[in-house]
Symmetry: C2
Subunit: 222 residues, 2 copies
């Protein structure tokens, strides 16, 4: 994981303050989070211990407790980093497009690109969706809601522009399902890269919602 604006937003409990140590700290933190992702991926969150996390990252067990307090905190930092990054990248890319269909294509490509570049992290996130409680959970859920709301607004713009009708909630969450489920089946040699998958899923999804005109819908149902 390279240092990025999102990485620098990740703050552990006790953080050095000088700027040199800060960037070194960020790199170290990124590396520890990457190791923690591997451990959670291999052992599951429940099956992983602070000792496993310490061994994998090369930090002493005392150091792990000092900086991260608990494996819950590590999971929180991983989740916060992931959702902040996806949201930040999406906002940046959406700024460059006005066409509602193009914006949906951007959303799909951004999600799949991030997902395929961070498959282990995404599997950990899918599996440990409800582990975080209290403050950590509240913060991560707020980030997820932010992401959901951006996607919902993109779809609502499409509905207005094309005068079509469908449940935005079911459509957004169906699209998330199409995209997130790839961690169970994606094979690079068979399925190609994120751009190819985004094209194919985008074709199905966009045709699917473009057809949501009440007249045609009712004609089909009856």
């Amino acid at each position: 994981m390279a240092a990025s604006p999102a990485t620098s937003r990740i703050t552990a409990t006790r953080r050095p303050t000088t700027s040199t140590s800060k960037s070194r700290f960020d790199r170290r933190l990124s590396s520890i989070l990457a190791h923690a992702i591997n451990v959670f991926y291999e052992k599951g969150y429940e099956g992983a211990s602070m000792r496993d996390l310490s061994r994998a990252s090369g930090m002493s067990l005392a150091g792990m407790y000092h900086y991260f307090e608990s494996k819950e905190k590590l999971l929180y930092l991983i989740q916060r980093h992931t959702f902040s990054t996806i949201v930040e990248q999406l906002r940046g890319k959406l700024d460059s497009a006005d066409d509602p269909e193009a914006r949906i294509r951007i959303l799909i490509l951004n999600h799949l690109e991030y997902f395929l570049a961070n498959q282990k992290a995404m599997k950990v996130l899918s599996h440990e969706d409800e582990v975080l409680k209290n403050g950590f959970g509240v913060e991560v859920r707020a980030l997820k809601r932010e992401y959901y709301r951006i996607c919902r607004d993109v779809l609502d713009d499409f509905k207005r522009a094309n005068q079509v009708h469908f449940s935005t909630r079911v459509a957004v969450l169906s699209l998330f399902g199409m995209m997130n489920w790839i961690y169970t089946w994606y094979k690079p040699r068979v399925d190609g890269d994120a751009a190819k998958l985004a094209q194919e899923m985008g074709d199905i999804f966009l045709s699917g919602i473009r057809d949501g005109k009440p007249a045609r819908k009712f004609a089909r149902v009856n």
Copy 2:
């Protein structure tokens, strides 16, 4: 879980042979599997012990080891039961319909009905997808492939009938994703029952693949 043809196919290692004890055995086995699903759901597969499983089901620890050998065997029995049942129910329902679109609607409704009626089991299965190794894993993967193949054939029939073109693999797996992901978001009061969701997802998915004509597709992309 009621006794069903699929339940009776679930055979533990040492099984009594008389017919009276057989049906009692099946009921007892169904009840133990239901308790095991709860434990795996609450604690995760890694986090659950045979002691937890014994406590929840009311069977002695020695009895658990005698009849089930390991928690892996229990997970295998749960997975085998689930996929056998879904496949069996789907085959029965597909027999009654010839129209390719109606058959896709049947597939979606069958999947969502089973999913919503067995949400805990489906979450356990989604999470512990790759746990089973060797013989258990081989058998469950064969059942999953059987289910995948039925769905693939249903979609291929639709393609032929409508002379449309899309990747059947991406379409089937996207549809599985749309449907399976609901375990992360489904709220009965907001989203309604399986029939309502199946209608909405079916509308999006069927419009999505119906539009897969190369001429229109290329016109849209360029």
